[in-house]
C-alpha cells in the first residue's frame, strides 16, 4: 500500500490549449479556443458545472439599453471607472463596456433564458454604482444560468465532435476534479504544460500544451468571513507567480457589504445586492436609515439626500437621484462597519437589511426567490416578514495577473489569465455585475489570444523539462510522505483568522506588519503539515497542497496593503484615510524571485483623450492631478479656476 500512496506514475495528455478553471471565464475561453479548431482541455478542481461562478446571484452588466434606452457603452465605461476609483486599466474597461452586450446576446443564442422585459427583450436590473438598470439576470441565480449555458455549449460542441469523429472528446474534454499544482516551462521560458493530480484517484497528471489559460478565480478562502468557497485558495495567482508572471493591485480586496452574520456556521454567505437594487434599505439598531450620513463628496451629485427622493427613484429614476444604499460596495461596507463599531449594530453584530417593510411578499418571492430560500432554510428568517441581519464579508479580489488587455496574455509567453484571477479591469473596486460580463468578454479574448499565440508559434512546441516535473512530483507528495506533522486544517483556520483580523476591511500599518511576521511563522508550519491516509480523494492532502498558494497570496495582499499609503476602493487604511492623486498613478506589481516576493511601483496607463473626454473635468479633478488633465476638452475651465 505504501507503494500506491507514494507512486510517482504520471498520466500524460497533449493539448493545444489547457484552460485551468471551469467557471464562466474558463469555459468561455475554452469554447473560443475549440471554435478556432484547437484541441482544448478544461481542468477544474470541482465537478463540471459547479465552479464558483454558479454562486453569482445578481446579474451580468451589459449596456444593452433594454430597460433604459439612454444606456450605452460610454455610460457603462464611466460607471466602471468611477467604481474602480480610476485605477482601472482603461483599455480593459473600454473593451468590457463595448463587448459585454454581444457576449450576453451570444449566451442567449446558446440557450440561456434570462428574465424578460414586456416587449420580450432581456430584462435588466439596477445595481450599485450602475447609472441605469443594466444587469441581465435570472431571478437571483444568474451565475447558475451562465455556467449551465456555457456547460451546455461545451456539450453541444462535444456533440458536434461525436457526429464528426465518433468521439465527443476529440477536440474538447473536461477534466473535472483535477487540481493543477505547477505550471511548467521550456528552457526558453515559454509555457510547456501543467502538472497536477486527479482528486478521484490521487494520480498525477501532466498536460503538455504550449498555451495555458488561467481561469482559477479568487482568493477568498484566505479570509475567515467570506462568501467564497474552498476553491478560492488563490491557486491561479500562486501558479502565475511561481511561473514568473506578475501580479498587480493585490491590496484591493472587495468586502461585500451584505453577508449573513447569523448563525455562525453561515457567517459570510452572500446576500445579493439585488435586495438593495429591488428596494431593500439598511437600518441600524436605532431603526435609522443611516446610509444618508455616509455619501462621500465624490458621489454627492448622484445620490439622494432625503428618503423621499430616494424612494421616488425606484419608479422615476430620470428625475430623482439614487438611494445611498446603492453606492459602490466599498463605501457601503465601510459605512456598515462604522455603524457596528459605534455600537449601533444588531444582536449578532451586523446591521439590518430590510425589504419586508418595503415590498409585498409576492414581489419579494418573484424577485429574490433564492434569498428567501436561503434565509428560511439556514437562519429561520422569513425575509418577507422580518429584516435580515447582515455585515461585510470578503467577496472578490480586484488584484490578479497583469495581462495585456486585448489578448489576456501575461508576461510569460503562452500564459494567459482571465476572470477573477486577472487584474486591472476593476481597478480598486469592482462594480456588482461587472464580473460576470468580464468573464465572457475576456474569456473570448483569452481563447483568441491563445489561438493567435499558437499559430504564431508554428510547429515547434515547447517541451517540458524533466527535472521540473520531478520537482513538482516531490513537492506534491511531501505532505503524504511526512507521516507525522501539523494538521493542515488547523494551520488554515488560524491563517484565515489572522488575515481577517489584520489585513481585513480596515487596515493599519502596525497590524499589517504583524500579519507579515505571522505569515513567516505560518510558512514554517505549512512546511511540516502532514496528511495521513491514501491518495484517492484525500481532502487533508489537498488542503496541505493548497496552503502553499494561500500563503503566497496572503503575503502579496499584506505587502501591497502595507505599501499603499492611502484609502481607495477595496483598500482602506485607518492611518491614511484619504484618496491621493499621486497614489492613483501607481500600480503595485509583485513578482517572485527565488522564494522572495518583490514589489515595484509601476505607472498606470493613462486615459486616451477620447476616453478622458467622456467625463466632466469637474469630476476628474477629484481624482487626478492637473497635469494629467491637460489634454481634456475642458482643460481651459480648470485653468480659470486657479
Amino acid at each position: 500500500m505504501a507503494d500506491e500512496t507514494t507512486s510517482t506514475e504520471i498520466e500524460r495528455y497533449s493539448y493545444d490549449v489547457v484552460v485551468i478553471g471551469a467557471g464562466g471565464s474558463g469555459l468561455r475561453a475554452a469554447i473560443e479556443a475549440r471554435s478556432r479548431g484547437l484541441k482544448t482541455a478544461i481542468i477544474s478542481k470541482s465537478l463540471f458545472g459547479k465552479a464558483h461562478t454558479v454562486m453569482a446571484e445578481g446579474g451580468a452588466a451589459a449596456a444593452m439599453g433594454n430597460v433604459n434606452p439612454n444606456d450605452n457603452w460610454q455610460v457603462h465605461f464611466r460607471d466602471t471607472m468611477r467604481g474602480g476609483k480610476f485605477l482601472n486599466n482603461p483599455r480593459m474597461a473600454e473593451l468590457h463596456a463595448k463587448e459585454a452586450p454581444d457576449r450576453i446576446w451570444e449566451l442567449e443564442a446558446w440557450g440561456a433564458v434570462f428574465d424578460r422585459t414586456k416587449d420580450g427583450k432581456i430584462s435588466q436590473r439596477n445595481f450599485g454604482g450602475h447609472e441605469y438598470p443594466r444587469l441581465a439576470h435570472v431571478g437571483d441565480r444568474t451565475g447558475l444560468e451562465m455556467i449551465r449555458t456555457l456547460q451546455q455549449r461545451v456539450v453541444a460542441l462535444q456533440q458536434a465532435d461525436s457526429y464528426e469523429f465518433g468521439d465527443p472528446e476529440a477536440r474538447i474534454r473536461v477534466f473535472a476534479e483535477t487540481t493543477i499544482t505547477r505550471l511548467l516551462k521550456d528552457p526558453a521560458g515559454r509555457i510547456a504544460g501543467a502538472f497536477g493530480y486527479i482528486r478521484d484517484t490521487g494520480k498525477f497528471v501532466l498536460f503538455e500544451a504550449p498555451a495555458v489559460v488561467l481561469a482559477t478565480g479568487g482568493i477568498g478562502r484566505t479570509f475567515k468571513v467570506t462568501s467564497n468557497s474552498w476553491e478560492y485558495s488563490g491557486d491561479g495567482h500562486a501558479l502565475a507567480l511561481l511561473a514568473g508572471a506578475k501580479l498587480m493591485n493585490m491590496e484591493f480586496v472587495q468586502f461585500h457589504p451584505t453577508g449573513m452574520v447569523w448563525p455562525p456556521s453561515v457567517k459570510g454567505i452572500l446576500v445579493t445586492e439585488s435586495v438593495r437594487g429591488d428596494g431593500g434599505i439598511l437600518k441600524n439598531s436605532d431603526g435609522k436609515r443611516f446610509m444618508f450620513d455616509y455619501v462621500p463628496d465624490v458621489f454627492r451629485a448622484q445620490y439622494a439626500e432625503t428618503e423621499e427622493e430616494a424612494d421616488r427613484w425606484y419608479t422615476d429614476p430620470d428625475h430623482n437621484r439614487r438611494p445611498p444604499e446603492l453606492l459602490p460596495r466599498d463605501e457601503v461596507a465601510r459605512s456598515i462597519n462604522s455603524e457596528i463599531k459605534a455600537g449601533r449594530g444588531t444582536p449578532h453584530g451586523g446591521v439590518y437589511l430590510d425589504i419586508a417593510s418595503r415590498r409585498t411578499p409576492e414581489y419579494i418571492l418573484t424577485r429574490l426567490p433564492s434569498m428567501h430560500h436561503q434565509f428560511k432554510e439556514l437562519a429561520d428568517v422569513d425575509i418577507t416578514k422580518e429584516p435580515m441581519e447582515i455585515g461585510p464579508t470578503c467577496h472578490y479580489v480586484m488584484g490578479g495577473v497583469e495581462v495585456d488587455p486585448d489578448s489576456a496574455a501575461s508576461s510569460v509567453p503562452g500564459l494567459f489569465a482571465v476572470g477573477e484571477v486577472s487584474g486591472g479591469m476593476h481597478g480598486s473596486n469592482r462594480l456588482g455585475g461587472n464580473s460576470l460580463s468580464d468573464l465572457v468578454v475576456f474569456g473570448k479574448r483569452a481563447g483568441d489570444g491563445a489561438a493567435d499565440y499558437i499559430s504564431a508559434l508554428g510547429a515547434a512546441r515547447p517541451a517540458v523539462v524533466q527535472a521540473d516535473l520531478d520537482t513538482a512530483v516531490t513537492e506534491a507528495l511531501a505532505p503524504l510522505r511526512r507521516g507525522e506533522g501539523e494538521s493542515p486544517y488547523a494551520v488554515h483556520a488560524e491563517l484565515q483568522q489572522r488575515m481577517n483580523d489584520l489585513v481585513g476591511l480596515i487596515r493599519r500599518e502596525d497590524e499589517v506588519k504583524t500579519a507579515l511576521s505571522d505569515l513567516e511563522k505560518f510558512k514554517e508550519r505549512a512546511a511540516i503539515v502532514a496528511a495521513p491516509g491514501e491518495r484517492a480523494y484525500n481532502p487533508g492532502w489537498h488542503y496541505a497542497i493548497d496552503l502553499r498558494n494561500m500563503l503566497l497570496v496572503a503575503e502579496c495582499v499584506a505587502m501591497a496593503a502595507l505599501e499603499r499609503q492611502e484609502s481607495r476602493g477595496g483598500h482602506t487604511r485607518d492611518d491614511y484615510p484619504g484618496m491621493s492623486p499621486e497614489w492613483r498613478k501607481v500600480n503595485l506589481i509583485l513578482s517572485l524571485h527565488g522564494d522572495k516576493i518583490e514589489m515595484v511601483h509601476q505607472p498606470i496607463p493613462s486615459l486616451r483623450p477620447d476616453l478622458l473626454d467622456l467625463f466632466e473635468v469637474s469630476e476628474l479633478k477629484k481624482y487626478m492631478t492637473k497635469e494629467e488633465l491637460a489634454g481634456h476638452r475642458q482643460a481651459a475651465a480648470l485653468e480659470e479656476e486657479h
Binding site: 498520466e11 500524460r12 495528455y13 497533449s14 420580450g120 494520480k203
Partner: protein, 278 residues
C-alpha cells in the same frame, strides 16, 4: 505520448439495509392501501346490488348507476332509455359508463403513482428498496396502455355531462311516489339530497378538469403562450386546479361514496329526504 490508464471498475457502496430511513415511511402506503381497498369493496358491492340506486319522486340517481340504460332500470332512472334487455345484474346497469369511469381513475396519473406505491411497492416509499427483481415501468404491455389516459379523459368529460344531467333531474322532482310515500309537485325543487349531488358533481368536474391531460390539451402543449392569450389564461386556471389534483382525487372518492350512501338510504326508506324547497 499519451498514457491513459482506465479507471478501475467501480461499484456502489455496499449497504445491506433496504433503507436507512428512520421515519415511519410505511405509514402513507398503508393508509392509501386501506382507503382504496375500502372504497373498491364498497363500490363493487353497490354496483352489483341492483337495489336502492334510485329515489323516485326526488329523482335522485346514484352516480354508480348513471346512465341507467339496462333493461332492468326502473322507470324514472332510465332517462336515456333502455339499451339492452333486462338481465340479472351480472352486468352493471351503468355498463356503458362504468368501464370509462374506472378506466379514467385507473389511468389517472395520481392514482397510478399512488397504487404503484401502496400495492405494488415500487417503491413503497422514497429511498426504500423495492421488492422486485426487474422493473420495466410503463414501457411494456399491459402498463404501457396507461398512455390511453387521454382517451379516458375525453370519455370522462362526456360522463361528467351525464352526471350534470342527473343533477338537473335531482332539482326537478316528479309526481312519482317517493320511497317514504310523499308526493312532490312536478317542477323545480330541491332537498339535502340535491345539494349533496350538486356538491358531488361540482367536485367531479373539478377533478376531471384538473386532470393532467386536460392541462395539456387546453394549453400545455403550446410552445408560445403569448400567441394564445385565451388558452394561456385557461391553462393557468387549469394549472391552479391541477395543483390540487391529489386532493380532488380523494375528495371525489369520498363525495361519490357519500352521495351513493345518501341516495341508497333514501331509496331504501331509511329516512326521508329533507326538503328545502318543494
Amino acid at each position: 505520448m499519451t498514457q491513459v490508464s482506465d479507471p478501475p471498475a467501480r461499484t456502489r457502496a455496499q449497504i445491506k439495509e433496504r433503507t436507512l430511513r428512520t421515519d415511519p415511511w410505511w405509514n402513507r402506503g398503508r393508509v392509501v392501501a386501506t382507503l382504496l381497498t375500502i372504497w373498491v369493496a364498497y363500490a363493487t358491492v353497490r354496483v352489483f346490488t341492483g337495489h336502492w340506486y334510485f329515489a323516485p319522486g326526488y329523482n335522485y340517481l346514484t352516480p354508480f348507476y348513471s346512465p341507467c340504460v339496462s333493461g332492468e332500470c326502473v322507470p324514472g332512472a332510465s332517462t336515456l332509455g333502455h339499451w339492452i334487455p333486462a338481465i340479472p345484474p351480472i352486468i352493471p346497469y351503468a355498463f356503458i359508463s362504468l368501464p370509462f369511469v374506472l378506466g379514467f381513475r385507473l389511468t389517472c396519473y395520481y392514482y397510478r403513482g399512488a397504487y404503484y406505491r401502496a400495492f405494488w411497492r415500487s417503491p413503497a416509499a422514497c429511498a426504500v428498496r423495492e421488492p422486485h427483481a426487474t422493473y420495466s415501468g410503463e414501457t411494456k404491455l399491459p402498463l404501457i396502455a396507461f398512455n390511453l389516459h387521454r382517451f379516458f379523459f375525453y370519455m370522462a368529460v362526456i360522463i361528467s355531462v351525464l352526471n350534470t344531467w342527473d343533477l338537473v333531474n335531482a332539482f326537478w322532482p316528479t309526481t312519482a311516489v317517493t320511497p317514504d310515500g310523499t308526493h312532490l309537485t312536478h317542477g323545480f325543487g330541491f332537498g339535502i339530497g340535491s345539494l349533496i349531488i350538486l356538491a358531488n358533481v361540482v367536485l367531479l368536474w373539478a377533478y376531471t378538469l384538473s386532470c393532467h391531460s386536460c392541462r395539456h390539451i387546453t394549453g400545455g402543449r403550446l410552445k408560445h403562450f403569448s400567441k394564445h392569450p385565451v388558452r394561456y389564461w385557461i391553462w393557468n386556471q387549469i394549472s391552479k386546479l391541477n395543483k390540487h389534483h391529489m386532493a380532488l382525487a380523494w375528495t371525489t372518492l369520498t363525495s361519490l361514496m357519500v352521495t351513493d350512501l345518501y341516495i341508497m338510504l333514501v331509496a331504501a326508506n331509511a329516512f326521508p329526504d329533507l326538503r328545502i324547497f318543494n
